[in-house]
């Protein structure tokens, strides 16, 4: 074990003794000073998670969140100095965290908040002009072969809970009494300009957008959407995508002759 092996191991595990070979000039117990480093590491990481998951925190309260985050920090310390990426596995951790099971939608709220952080920092991309998109769509003989490329900030989430409604109600004071979280809801997250936006969408729209994002042509994406939900409304979904500047390219499928 090198000096930094010992030091790092003792930092991450709160029960572990202070490493050997340290001293305080005044003769104080080095453990009482090592505790400053351990506290810096843990509290800074817990604070980073609290800042990235504000609604998740509100749903369980500060004390519960910090205790849960502390366990997460020990199980999943950061692997990059880019702290905006830290906490990507928190939703999975919550999913398997027994004491959090009393809030069944907690993991999906964490997933939604992670998508918001990613959208906030996602690459900038010039959106197609809305009029130009409409004209191109109208002038297209075979819409089914069209491929639509979407903004890098855009992502979806399917949840058995009303994840967008729960998230939205925590953006303002009060209003919890009328909330019914016990129905499925899809979420669309995107950044328009500098602002991250969250929309509730149906499972058909989630399937449609995911299919487009995988590079499928419009016709295939509609098939996927209708498989997910017979109530899928193509016009409504395209309007949502176009009006929030999510389209960056339109391509015609290159048909290969048989």
């Amino acid at each position: 074990m090198s000096l930094q092996d010992d030091f790092a191991a003792a930092l991450l595990a709160p029960e572990q003794a202070c490493p050997d070979g340290l001293f305080s000039i005044n003769g104080a117990d080095p453990a009482s000073r090592f505790a400053v480093y351990r506290n810096n590491v843990h509290s800074s990481l817990i604070n980073a998670l609290a800042a990235a998951y504000p609604v998740t925190l509100q749903l369980v309260g500060e004390a519960f969140f910090r205790a849960m985050a502390s366990l997460y920090v020990q199980a999943h310390p950061p692997t990059s100095p880019v702290m905006s990426e830290y906490g990507g596995a928190l939703a999975e951790f919550i999913q398997g965290f027994e004491p959090a099971q009393s809030v069944p939608y907690l993991a999906d709220i964490a997933r939604l908040e992670r998508l918001r952080v990613r959208a906030y920092h996602a690459a900038d991309c010039q959106a197609l002009d809305q009029q130009a998109v409409l004209l191109a769509l109208q002038g297209q003989a075979d819409l089914g072969t069209l491929r639509l490329q979407l903004q890098p900030s855009l992502a979806t989430l399917n949840s058995p809970y009303a994840v967008v409604a729960v998230w939205a109600v925590h953006q303002t004071e009060g209003g919890l009494a009328t909330l019914n979280p016990w129905h499925p809801q899809g979420a669309l997250v995107l950044r328009q300009g500098l602002e991250v936006k969250v929309f509730a969408i149906d499972p058909g729209s989630v399937a449609f957008i995911n299919s487009l994002a995988h590079g499928n042509a419009l016709g295939t994406a509609v098939e996927h959407a209708l498989e997910a939900s017979t109530e899928f409304d193509l016009h409504q979904c395209l309007t949502l995508l176009i009006s929030h500047n999510t389209l960056t390219h339109l391509h015609l499928e290159q048909k290969v002759s048989p």
Binding site: Q4, F7, L22, D29, P30, S44, A48, P81
Partner: protein, 292 residues
């Protein structure tokens, strides 16, 4: 106003250099206020790692603010004192940021923060021995050659010492500067915090440093704790106003080094921008005393 080239210069780290004025750490909470009010401030400093993102508001606002102000890029995650190799991907990200924003200065810490695959998100202390000295100098050489510019190295605040250390911190830093030609980012708060924690006289600590290499100064606030003997233990938390003792030490430093660019750091318990601006103005009054 005195120009940087008329300072008692040693390192190329001063060219083109930040202006010999007070600057502020730029926090995202203050982006819009800075753009709307265009405060009279010498420069802004950002933590490099916060801008290692693809796009979005951070780059948008920093780009606009960079058009109006000189910029210092301050790294907190390179782990120059780490036992392992420097993270080349991280160095590449730094190169990209430097290319994009053309900062007037790049600085990092005499500390380690990564170990193996794990990033510990704190500036951790080093044993001051010849093996560590060799390693730190190699890492700084690598940084300076990769980034194609000299860097500034910041003196640490520490809470413990290593039995393995064979050199004083000041001798260790002096030797790094001599061997690598890097500049010194003198964090006066760190000097004070470490000197209290290790029962050393701050003035003698300063006297043992190559102050001619100081190209930037940091000022910040600390928190107070006690150790197992009930002795004062100061914690460099960047969460409080600058202490009077640190201002006094700063004044003594300026008398020796002249009007060196001075950053007010506040990363926690962030107050209103006007509060930080008032601290910057206080630093400018001290700077004016030593400007010709």
């Amino acid at each position: 106003m005195m120009t940087l080239s008329s300072l008692p210069a040693v390192s190329q780290a001063q060219a083109p250099g930040l202006p010999g004025r007070a600057g502020l750490g730029l926090k995202h909470e203050h982006f819009i206020e800075v753009l709307e009010t265009s405060p009279d401030i010498g420069f802004f400093e950002v933590h490099a790692e916060n801008y290692m993102v693809a796009g979005g508001p951070f780059h948008h606002y920093l780009g606009l603010i960079r058009e109006q102000y000189p910029l210092s890029l301050h790294g907190v995650g390179l782990s120059i004192g780490g036992e392992g190799r420097l993270d080349r991907a991280h160095l590449a990200r730094l190169s990209t940021l430097i290319e994009r924003y053309q900062p007037h200065s790049f600085s990092e810490h005499l500390a380690w923060s990564s170990h193996g695959p794990v990033f510990l998100n704190d500036l951790l202390p080093l044993a001051y021995d010849s093996a560590t000295l060799q390693r730190v100098c190699e890492h700084i050489d690598q940084v300076q050659s990769t980034l194609k510019r000299p860097m500034l190295l910041e003196n640490p605040s520490t809470y413990l010492q290593f039995q393995r250390s064979t050199l004083d911190e000041t001798d260790f830093i002096s030797e790094i500067i001599r061997r690598t030609g890097c500049g010194l980012l003198l964090d006066v708060n760190n000097v004070y915090v470490s000197c209290i924690n290790h029962q050393r006289d701050p003035q003698s600590y300063l006297d043992a440093l190559p102050l001619h290499a100081v190209s930037e100064i940091h000022l910040a606030g600390f928190a107070e704790d006690t150790d197992s003997l009930g002795d004062r233990l100061l914690i460099d938390d960047h969460g409080a106003p600058i202490d009077n003792a640190v201002w006094q030490l700063y004044e003594k430093v300026l008398a020796q080094v002249g009007p060196v660019p001075t950053l007010i750091e506040r990363d926690n318990q962030l107050p209103a921008f006007s509060v930080l601006l008032a601290e910057a103005q206080q630093a400018e009054r001290y700077l004016a005393q030593v400007s010709p």
